[in-house]
């Protein structure tokens, strides 16, 4: 019975430490952010950082309803 308790204690301790290490893991550097591989027609490859699309701004305003 003691062995069972000791094994449970050890495994839970291991899981707890893994959780803490994973939680405090440093985020990857910006250079390691997701990239998009763009393949050209002639077989060349180019890595392009995958950035979120910018919100589209408009300079035109909706016309005010007449009246």
């Amino acid at each position: 019975m003691r062995s069972v308790w000791a094994t449970l204690l050890s495994v839970w301790l291991l899981f707890a430490v893994i959780a803490v290490l994973a939680w405090t893991r440093q985020q990857p550097a910006p250079s390691q952010s997701p990239v998009i591989v763009v393949k050209g027609k002639n077989g060349t490859q180019m890595l392009v950082p995958a950035t979120t699309a910018a919100t589209h701004a408009t300079t035109r305003t909706s016309p005010v309803a007449a009246g």
Partner: protein
Amino acid sequence: MIAATTSTAVPVAWLVARAAGLTALALLSASLWLGLAMSVRLLAPRRQKVLMGWHQTLMWCGLSMVALHGISLLLDPVMHFSIAVVFVPGLAPWRPLAVAAGVVTAWLMLALASSFHVRRRITQRRWRLMHYAGFAAFALALGHGLTAGTDLRGLTGLIVAGVLAAPAVWLVYARILVPRPQPGRRPVTPGAV
């Protein structure tokens, strides 16, 4: 043609290796504390057997974590540790002394854990002498964690080392200072004269 790839995968082997190493250090420390508590006779004699059982079991659990630590390092795609590096001290290309301390600790722990089962074959005196290797194993494990590990750096490492070593140091002092009862002699209690 556009193909998206990501490089944000979780390094599972590396996380398990670090966690198993830290868990092994904690279990080895707990086993050492219990062994010293037995030696100091901190608890009543009828509790000594329970302490002995936990002392032995925690040592084997710690050894299991050491095995997981080694296996995870073997599987880690970054470290490129071979089987020889994990088993033979001094072969590691990365921080050889610090890694060697860890390998020697593992062998010492295996010897100590096995010694419980051959206690009757080797004499009690030899078993006790062999048990002093536990102090070396603890010191080497702590040194390995502080110098080879990436988690026990700076102030965090010092705090963890202090927390783990303080009970051991206190119990060693208690063992040295507190007189051990002589066999066959009744302990003198205050007011009995």
